[in-house]
Amino acid sequence: MTINDLAQACGWKLLAGEDGQENEVDGCYIGDLLSWVMGRAQSGNVWLTVMGNLNAIAVAALADVSGIVLCEDSALDPDAKKRAGMQGIPVYGCSPNLYQTAVSVYEQISGLAEQLADI
């Protein structure tokens, strides 16, 4: 599914990078240590974090993740917002914590939410 579809289903708010909203998502990675994330997140993952700085945008671009979700209302720095816009890296914000957000992602990409809706 696209990250835009996922964002709508999970109730995330787009903060920057609208050009990347059609990026496909097929998995999820969670982390705040940038080198750790860069070494382990897979291309096509949506990245859940609280790191909204410029370097997080660079890591997202270099690791080819589908986009960033800033959980627990963590802030997106103004310069990071600008860079995300320039590079077309979609960045979303939400209030739930990392675990709750990961559960929502799982429900959507596994098709569980759809199955539950049919019951």
């Binding site: 705040d32 240590l33 940038l34 080198s35 750790w36 860069m38 070494g39 291309s43 790191m51 700085n53 410029l54 370097n55 997080a56 660079a58 890591v59 671009a61 270099l62 690791a63 080819d64 310069d79 590079q87």
Partner: protein, 143 residues
């Protein structure tokens, strides 16, 4: 002579510009049609190297030579040098200050990531003189 020779100046202590050189190399490799896995490995290894130049090297130079069958990256600084290269290569070992850790770096993963994502890597460092890290990525290997 390589097919494409690129040189970048990486300023010290400026985290806002780290990633410009690796981003540019990634963009160029994409245009040249390199396989995505090799591009990703070059981009990650080079970004880690850039961050090291910013944090530890006081800035430096990144030199990239692109050929159809290999990408060679050299990161050169005139910083303080690495007293114990073997220790620096251990995952989790870091001398990064707290302000760097607050940005999400300094986990001691930089050099191990660079080794993990490249096919060859050498570190030549002299305390008080500087450090040169050379890396090679061969498309089709590792990954």
């Amino acid at each position: 002579m390589s097919m494409l020779h690129l040189e970048y100046q990486v300023p010290g202590d400026d985290f806002t510009r780290a990633g410009e050189a690796s981003g540019d190399v990634k963009h160029k490799l994409k245009k040249l049609g390199y396989e995505p896995d090799a591009i990703r490995r070059v981009a990650i290894a080079m970004y880690e190297g850039e961050i090291n130049l910013v944090i530890h090297g006081g800035g430096g130079e990144a030199v990239v030579d692109v050929d159809p069958d290999r990408v060679d990256i050299a990161l050169i600084d005139q910083g303080p040098g690495i007293p114990d290269v073997e220790q620096a290569m251990q995952a989790g070992w870091s001398t990064a200050p707290d302000n760097v850790r607050a940005l999400g770096f300094g986990a001691g993963m930089g050099l191990p990531n660079m080794k993990k994502y490249t096919d060859e890597m050498t570190i030549d460092s002299t305390v008080g003189v500087g450090t040169t890290v050379k890396m090679t990525v061969v498309p089709g290997r590792k990954g």
